[in-house]
Amino acid sequence: MSEASVVKADPVASPAPPPRDEESIPHPMEEWLRMDRIPHIWCPTCGLGTVVTAFIEGLKQTDLERDNVAVVSGIGCTGRVAGYVKLDSYHTTHGRAIPFATGLALSNPKLKVAVVSGDGDLVGIGGNHFIHAARRNMDLTVILVNNFIYAMTGGQVAPTTPETANTTTTPYGAFEPPFNIPHLAEACGAVYVARWTSLHVRRLTESIRKALSKPGFALVEVVTPCSTLYARRNRLGSGLDLLKFYHDNSTIQNGARTSDVGIDFQKPFIVGEFVDHDRPTWFQLMEARMSATLGDKFIPKEGPSCTNSK
């Protein structure tokens, strides 16, 4: 008999709980959210809220000190994540979350900087920054929410939109080949690459934990339902129907070759942890180079220095 069925056995009956006043115990996320901004602006059945929970759960499982974690977002529905998490958080400009985060991280090497932003933001308008940050192995954890569309602006085609999908600017179906994001990230040098859907919330949480714990450019792509625009325009039902689709059509294949994980419109796709290796970060390379050439004359940057002028 499997353990699971043991657990499913009838319990020693404990009395049914008395009805509880709704707000008497806070939701465990409340400590990590800007509760004065909840409810958030995201649509019913949008998956973004799930990503926020996974991010916080993953973060809680690291040894990072809360004070030393900063979140940077660009612009978009996903870009609003920075506005809801109770951490030092920066809502920047469209596509520039990664360079802003780069400045933040280099300015204060004690920080762990996470970028949470959309597909259009990170690999459309911000694509150049994405590839260079990966190449440099900048110490950033990037959570890329892929909803296959430019949601915030009303559902236009994105560099991730699968061919034939309908968007407001491809009313006859998208025809440009989309990016395979894990492949792009790996090719550019990311040290950690994983893809989950927002339904795989436990594995997603674990990948976020790993990504945050790893020095260097770590990318977690999260395929997430945009119910209002992507699902509706393509007659795919609600966000719940998209989760069901993910459930039935995603296959976990850890270590899959990233070149094999492209996503076609409403076709089965691969999720998993694809890349996990080590190489020195930009900061480590810089310090090593400076120490090698300058010896004792090299003074490494310690912490923030705006008050450095004594």
């Binding site: 008999m1 353990e3 069925s5 043991v6 657990v7 499913k8 056995a9 009838d10 319990p11 020693v12 009956a13 404990s14 709980p17 509880r20 709704e22 707000e23 115990i25 939701h27 465990p28 996320m29 409340e30 959210l33 909840i38 409810p39 958030h40 995201w42 649509c43 019913p44 059945t45 949008c46 998956g47 973004l48 809220g49 799930t50 929970t53 996974a54 759960e57 927002s198 339904l199 919330v201 436990r202 949480t205 609600s238 966000g239 719940l240 989760l243 069901k244």
Partner: protein, 94 residues
Amino acid sequence: MKFWRKPLDLDEQKVVRGEVHILRDRCKGCGFCVEYCPEGVLKLDHAYNKKGYHPPVVIEGKECVMCRLCELLCPDFSIFITERGTGVPEVRDD
């Protein structure tokens, strides 16, 4: 549920029971929690909440096993679980 025989580690098989907390008025009725609860503990209420959505309710007689999947999946931070008490699975001899 009945066991054919008493498992050897029965006394170690602590079953954690969860108490489901639903923040009715924060819920947007997406149904994620209902759909993915492995124990079928939840259903969407007929009644509306203040926002006009149907929040989940616990189905009478169903027991939450505290897997927290509903809590993790909920995009609106409106359902969570606390531990209610532990119990040893019951073995009935009939």
